[in-house]
């Protein structure tokens, strides 16, 4: 069935697509900024699209994690994963926040962290490493998260070449966890040292005992499953204690990130959307997306198949509570002692590497309305001065409603939705797959703001190849009823306050 043609307001012969809303969850900073006229001035001066960042929010996002560590009596450290981030203001903010570290994954991101002023003691280097990246990390005495046993040889060879005598602290990144209790149909991964190769690790460490010291073990999981998380933690602890038996003194367990955040304000709106989306795909309901896209789902014999091209927007647990949920779990191979208690009692450090969770509500993307027109089949369209590369996280779609900031206050009410399209000269240049009901007419010159885009959404896909503006970034902060801003690259937290 084709999409229905929606006449513009005033001629209601055809029923509109079922009205749906997914109100975005808005942080205090975003709400405050949307209430000021500053945003319009910034877009006027710096052009559209514009990315706004609230770097001070990062410290607030990290606090609940530290409270969790404290609750369990665990020495914990938090590292921001910086790979999907092009903002210097955030890393500079972290440089001035002693409780946050940075997890870098390339020579470039390491150099950026160092030049932002993050001390080497608060940086750890992960990911696939070339000689340039490794050399810079070694020169700075940074903890290296070893991805492959052979990397230890490379580290030692480079150290010799560079004349570095100090021992390098390494974490060994583990993967391929298997359970004696369950047979997992394991999906393959590209990272880490399979726990099956641990027997090869010991002679390697022994051979390089004067050059590297084993600080601990790390892993990163792609699954939500608490059972699998428990399994990974247990097996990592077993390997860590085995290392202790061999005379090493590892003291760190790095469990990576994967903490989910919430995008939608109301759970019921999100649930409604999913139910309606699935209903529409199976033909049991009206269309609710552009060209009845299944957003990753499709049907086969009346059943839904596939996996969504979007994240859960209504995660019920805040990120630190997700950590609590793990620490509360009893570890079957350690006499069912809860994970948090064992980490505390064994005086181990727990490191985490959240990405999205630390950037939650840190950013906002704003664009100007170029024109309002209709699609081939008559759907109202809003054309924005931005394109889908400005709003893209590895194909994961942001589904919350953007916010309309009308140029004129006397807006006309409007009961139909609009699809938002961008300025790329390609077919189906859609910024959001849903028709958005603003409740009022949209006009050229209005602004439209997408909430919470810092969590990986604003930076992943932008490229100068398109010959369209790459969004400028501004850092915004608040002091005594005053809204202050600086260009992202000019933001220096240590210059914000006078001495």
């Amino acid at each position: 069935m084709k999409c229905q043609i929606i006449p513009l307001a005033g001629s209601p012969q055809v029923a509109p697509l079922e009205a749906d809303r997914i109100e975005p969850l808005l942080g205090a900073e975003s709400s405050a900024l949307l209430d000021t006229g500053l945003l319009r001035q910034l877009v006027a001066s710096l052009s559209s699209p514009l990315n706004v960042l609230f770097p001070e929010r990062v410290s607030e996002n990290v606090r609940p994690f530290h409270e969790t560590f404290e609750h369990y009596g665990i020495d914990g450290r938090v590292f921001l994963t910086t790979k999907p981030n092009r903002s210097s203001s955030i890393v500079r903010e972290i440089a001035c926040s002693p409780t946050i570290g940075v997890d870098v994954s390339s020579e470039g991101s390491l150099a950026a962290a160092l030049s932002a002023g993050v001390p080497p003691s608060r940086i750890e280097a992960t990911g696939p490493k070339d000689q340039g990246y490794l050399s810079l990390a070694l020169l700075q005495g940074i903890v290296i998260n070893v991805d492959d046993i052979a990397e230890i040889d490379l580290i030692c060879a480079l150290k010799k070449k560079l004349g570095i005598a100090e021992k390098t602290q390494i974490l060994v990144r583990l993967s391929g966890f298997k359970s004696p209790r369950n047979a997992f149909a394991v999906s393959d991964g590209t990272f880490g040292v399979s726990i099956d190769s641990i027997p090869d690790l010991w002679p390697k460490l022994h051979a390089h005992t004067h050059e590297v010291s084993l600080l601990g073990f790390s892993y990163h999981l792609n699954t939500d499953s608490i059972e699998y998380r428990v399994l990974a933690l247990e097996q990592t602890l077993s390997i860590l204690f085995a290392a202790k038996q061999r005379g090493y003194t590892p003291r760190v367990v790095n469990i990576g990130g994967g903490f989910r955040i919430r995008y939608a304000k109301n759970t019921y709106e999100w649930e409604n959307f999913i139910v309606r989306l699935k209903g529409s795909i199976t033909g049991q309901g009206k269309a609710c997306t552009w060209n009845r896209s299944g957003l990753g789902f499709s049907t086969e014999n009346g059943r839904i198949k596939g996996s969504p091209r979007f994240m859960d927007h209504a995660e019920p647990l805040p990120p630190a509570d997700q950590l609590c949920a793990l620490l509360r779990q009893e570890l079957p191979s350690f006499s069912a002692v809860p994970a948090g208690r064992l980490l505390s009692e064994s005086v181990l450090e727990l490191w985490i590497e959240p990405g999205r969770a630390l950037l939650d509500q840190v950013g906002l993307t704003v664009a100007e309305v170029l024109s309002v027109r209709r699609s081939e089949q008559g759907h109202p369209l809003v054309v924005l001065r931005m394109n889908r590369s400005n709003l893209n996280a590895f194909e994961l779609t942001l589904l919350t409603d953007p916010i309309l900031l009308p140029r004129k206050f006397s807006a006309e009410p409007c009961d139909h939705g609009y699809f938002l399209t961008g300025n790329l000269c390609v077919a189906n240049e859609l910024l959001t797959p849903r028709s958005i009901h603003f409740g009022q007419r949209v006009a050229p010159g209005d602004l439209i703001a997408f909430a919470n885009t810092a969590p990986y959404i604003m930076d992943f896909a932008e490229s100068p190849t398109l010959h369209q503006p790459v969004a400028r970034k501004v850092a915004v902060w608040f002091r005594e009823h005053e809204t202050k801003w600086a260009l992202d690259e000019e933001y220096r937290p240590y210059l914000k306050e006078e001495l």
């Binding site: 009596g73 020495d75 359970s179 369950n182 047979a183 997992f184 149909a185 999906s187 792609n222 699954t223 939500d224 499953s225 059972e227 699998y228 204690f241 202790k244 994967g258 989910r260 759970t267 649930e271 999913i274 139910v275 699935k278 209903g279 795909i281 199976t282 049991q284 990753g296 014999n301 009346g302 059943r303 839904i304 198949k305 596939g306 996996s307 091209r309 994240m311 859960d312 209504a314 995660e315 019920p316 350690f334 006499s335 002692v337 208690r341 064992l342 505390s344 009692e345 064994s346 005086v347 590895f394 194909e395 994961l396």
Partner: protein
């Protein structure tokens, strides 16, 4: 009654009327179909029998393996029926969230392959989705693998249309409401199809679990669409129930009706009463409503314990040192690592490690004995098993938990200390300190 095979004992379950004093409805008589009386304990016995029956002989001859995506009752019933016939059964499921079910399945001889839940990072080719993994496996070797596939198998609703619906129809001339939790949708859709032959006005009320909540055997509204048996138009209304409400309903069924039912039955009862209450006063005549008491309570002890520890008297244990003032605790006698070394050299104290046995057995101070804190509390309630003439040093991880212990015993005349900074301080002490102590 003599039965020649366990198959004969599946089905023909009674209806039990729930007293009005329990449900509080005026114009509705509410009946529970006691599916928990099936031999393997649940409503799923019916579909297991129906899904296997047409294939039994072939499966035995070809020595094929039966596979299913279930983490509970369907697996139990399939396992039982397959093992009687000597047919191997293998269960693949998302991780079993009901601990006891997994152990029961193991006891029954099931081979379990568990897969982690779907990835949260974007991964369109998740090999871990049990339903699709099994469909692939069955498609690859159709003669060796038989996937009963309860979520798509038409024999599932058919079993309920031909047995459950017929039985209820024989006992009650007219059913106005059927209230059922929706898992595979087989019991609700199948039973309703038959009951509608007698009363086309029958209203089927489907109960779903709240999103991110978990009621064993019931899916959330958004999960129903992956399911081939589910037909939205079969339901008059879909209502969601929380796990807390399900347990509330379960407790009511157990304590007030003598029905030893599990959480899905509890959800059915709770949802039925909630829904019927909204229309009760508008009903002009007596109406009849039926719900399923799907399975038994025993498998869900840990499920309930996790959500309602109060029912089991947990979380109420008083502390032995509750009478100590804050000040007494903060000023508890303590030794630091260096002082402990001196003590060990001059007059060896009794060192008591209060961490869990696991942590203790992994690493501990030389000569330390292990009394985990909760054991120590219990022991101290009746006696103090420590000498008065010898110093006692208590060790925990950071030196916080042992302070009240030291304060409590010091107050009673023992020479008790807490190790300042705990085991962490000891670990971080200079090697010289630890070395002298070790020799």
């Amino acid at each position: 009654m003599i039965a020649s095979s366990i198959h004969e004992l599946i089905g023909n379950t009674p209806l039990l009327e729930i007293p009005a004093s329990v449900h509080g409805l005026r114009n509705v008589r509410l009946y529970a179909k006691l599916e928990l009386l099936n031999p393997f304990g649940s409503i799923k016995d019916r579909i297991a029998k129906a899904m296997l029956a047409p294939h039994r002989e072939r499966l035995q001859q070809e020595n094929a393996v039966v596979v299913e995506n279930s983490s509970g009752n369907t697996a139990k019933a399939l396992q039982a029926l397959c093992s009687i016939d000597g047919i191997p059964f293998s269960l693949v499921s998302g991780l079993t969230r009901v601990k006891e079910q997994k152990d029961i399945l193991r006891l029954m001889g099931a081979s379990i392959e568990e897969v982690p839940n779907a990835s949260d990072c974007f991964d369109p080719n998740d090999p871990n989705d049990p339903q699709y993994a099994l469909e692939r496996r069955a498609a690859e070797s159709p003669n060796q693998v038989f996937f009963t596939s309860q979520f798509t198998n038409r024999d599932n609703p058919r079993a309920h249309a031909e047995t459950t619906g017929i039985e209820i129809g024989a006992d009650l001339p007219r059913v106005d409401f059927l209230i059922a939790g929706v898992g595979t949708a087989g019991s609700s859709c199948g039973t309703a199809d038959t009951l509608r032959l007698a009363n086309s006005e029958l209203k089927l009320i489907g109960l779903t679990a709240r999103r991110h909540d978990f009621i064993p055997g019931i899916r959330s509204a958004e999960e129903l669409w992956e399911n081939g048996v589910f037909r939205r138009d079969a339901y008059h209304q879909l209502l969601s129930v929380s796990s807390r409400d399900a347990i509330e309903g379960m407790v009511t069924l157990i304590r007030r009706c003598g029905i030893p039912a599990g959480p899905s039955s509890g959800a059915n009862f709770y949802g039925a009463v909630e829904y019927l209450r909204t229309i009760d006063t508008e009903l002009a005549r007596q109406h009849t409503a039926v719900l399923f008491a799907c399975d038994r309570m025993e498998s869900y002890i840990s499920y309930v314990k996790e959500r309602r520890p109060d029912i089991f008297g947990l979380e109420s244990r008083g502390k032995l040192w509750h009478d100590l003032e804050e000040e007494e605790i903060s000023e508890a006698p303590a030794v630091n690592a260096l002082q402990l070394r001196t003590l060990i050299r001059d007059r060896p104290p009794l060192i008591i490690d209060t961490r869990s046995t696991v942590a203790y057995s992994l690493e501990h101070l030389p000569e330390a004995l292990n009394y985990p804190l909760e054991d120590l509390q219990r022991i101290l309630q009746t006696s103090v098993p420590f000498p008065r003439e010898r110093a006692i040093v208590f060790v925990c991880q950071h030196g916080v938990f042992t302070r009240p212990v030291a304060a409590y015993l010091a107050k009673r005349g023992f020479e008790a200390f807490s190790l300042e900074g705990g085991y962490r301080a000891w670990l971080n002490a200079p090697e010289a300190v630890k070395f002298v102590a070790n020799t």
